[in-house]
Symmetry: C2
Subunit: 284 residues, 2 copies
């Protein structure tokens, strides 16, 4: 059990804020809860305005700041941007705006996971149109590993498949094959690592792995992001250790539209059933 200075006890008891454009970020919340079981969480899904992945940079920044404002106003101790698109384009604006609240995105952690997994340095990032266009993953990977060869693929159909729940079977597999055929014409891909650069994509990890074939690592940023959050909180003395008798895994959800749909679809991403009573409708 990590000791917390008395003055920090109240500050540490505050929830961790998690933001996503919709329900996909619940895969990141899932990883956070597994790694940090003593913490409580406040999750906001901007379901009225999703998806962010097809919007312009200007609009994503504007929407993401409005959403983050709503979380910061509820006294969170740190802010996790679970949305890859928002992480890719809005992180600098957020860090400037919330000087007292650490902001952790998923691009940096995803890039670290990719560099750790890749032997050849040939890495492909599967993401939304907006994330690909912004090039943030490419930059983050090349910063860590300047010799890497990074390809980015916009895979918009994966979002629809995950939302529809069609995450296995021939249709999902053929969609994955059609996207991945751009990564090599031979029997094996020209990359050894695929980064799932959208929070919806881990739901399709199995068919993506099948389409990619053996010898290709599939990484996502959820677990690495959770580790980054732990380090950041520990460095500030804000971490609640397991068994510390804190709020212990409590979650509260905010959605800008359709709490019923949020609860229904969200459970698939969180990996646990979600009651509509836990979802609060907010206008941001």
């Amino acid at each position: 059990m990590t000791a917390i200075a008395p003055g920090l006890a109240a500050a540490a008891a505050r929830p961790i804020g998690v933001f996503d454009s919709g329900v996909g970020g619940l895969t990141v919340l899932r990883a956070l809860r597994e790694r940090l079981p003593a913490e409580s969480f406040l999750y906001l899904g901007d379901t009225a305005r999703l998806p962010y992945g097809t919007k312009s940079e200007h609009t994503v920044v504007r929407y993401a700041l409005q959403a983050a404002d709503a979380l910061v106003a509820r006294d969170i101790k740190c802010l996790v941007i679970a949305c890859n698109t928002a992480s890719a384009v809005a992180l600098p604006a957020m860090r400037e705006r919330y000087a007292d609240c650490p902001v952790i995105g998923v691009i940096g952690p995803g890039a670290r996971a990719a560099c750790a997994a890749s032997v050849s340095g040939r890495i492909a990032v599967l993401a939304t149109e907006a994330t690909v266009r912004g090039g943030a993953y490419q930059r983050a990977i090349l910063e860590l590993r300047p010799d890497a060869q990074v390809t980015s693929l916009a895979c918009g159909m994966f979002v629809a498949l995950a939302e529809e729940g069609w995450t296995e079977g021939p249709i999902a597999l053929q969609v994955a094959q059609r996207y991945l055929e751009r990564l090599g014409t031979g029997p094996t891909l020209d990359v050894d690592t695929l980064v799932l650069g959208c929070t919806h994509f881990p739901a399709l990890a199995q068919v993506i792995a099948q389409a990619a074939g053996p010898g290709v690592q599939i990484v996502d940023s959820a677990a690495t992001a959770a580790a980054t959050v732990e380090e950041e909180l520990a460095a500030r003395g804000l971490l609640l250790a397991a068994g510390s008798g804190g709020p212990g895994g409590r979650m509260h959800f905010l959605a800008t539209d359709g709490p019923e749909r949020f609860a229904g679809v969200g459970g698939r991403f969180l990996g646990a059933p979600l009651s509509v009573d836990d979802v609060e409708l907010v206008d941001i």
Copy 2:
């Protein structure tokens, strides 16, 4: 050539406003231009906040009214709601708000087309989640044909396929088959008419027809909506006849986000190339 009373000439020269959540409504604009070649058009796509099809009724009404306000403020002579979802839930609110501007949705015309095409009265509506939930097609068809048996199917993946441009080939066909298998277990469907109740779906008409098999009529609301607009304008003396020397097919486009993407994807739906210079970015 229809005679226009002198006092009405200026009023008739105003553009027809067309609203959709994105680019799908360009299929309706295409039908309008074919039927009404002398008219000019002002199209607004709320691309920042699309899709409407997964949002709650409350949010769709709010967004649709904001978008319609922006068109009405630009002095249109009638307003066509090309978006099925907005037509399904926001039409009464619009008709109340714009007493002086006729508002034409696509649900009524789509229902008329379905009733005209169906022999058996067994009709299925393929639409977005929000349109299906609202039940507007079902009500409109039953009003015209009380003995009809109407089934509604939410087909969210069709939107993604159309946006991605994957409108033919094995993936599109299997997606259509997977949705349509809910309409009958035998070699033929239990319906004789399918209504394409989302402006994205006409792009997939061919694979939907292939999945449905012979003997099934596929109807969409675009052509019937254009006929309705013609009748409405004629009744008010606001119709420009072909060859009347009017603004003749001129189009101007407004988008709430991403003019480049609008022009790029939009051309597929309009059936004609679209230049980014014709697309004006607006904040509504």
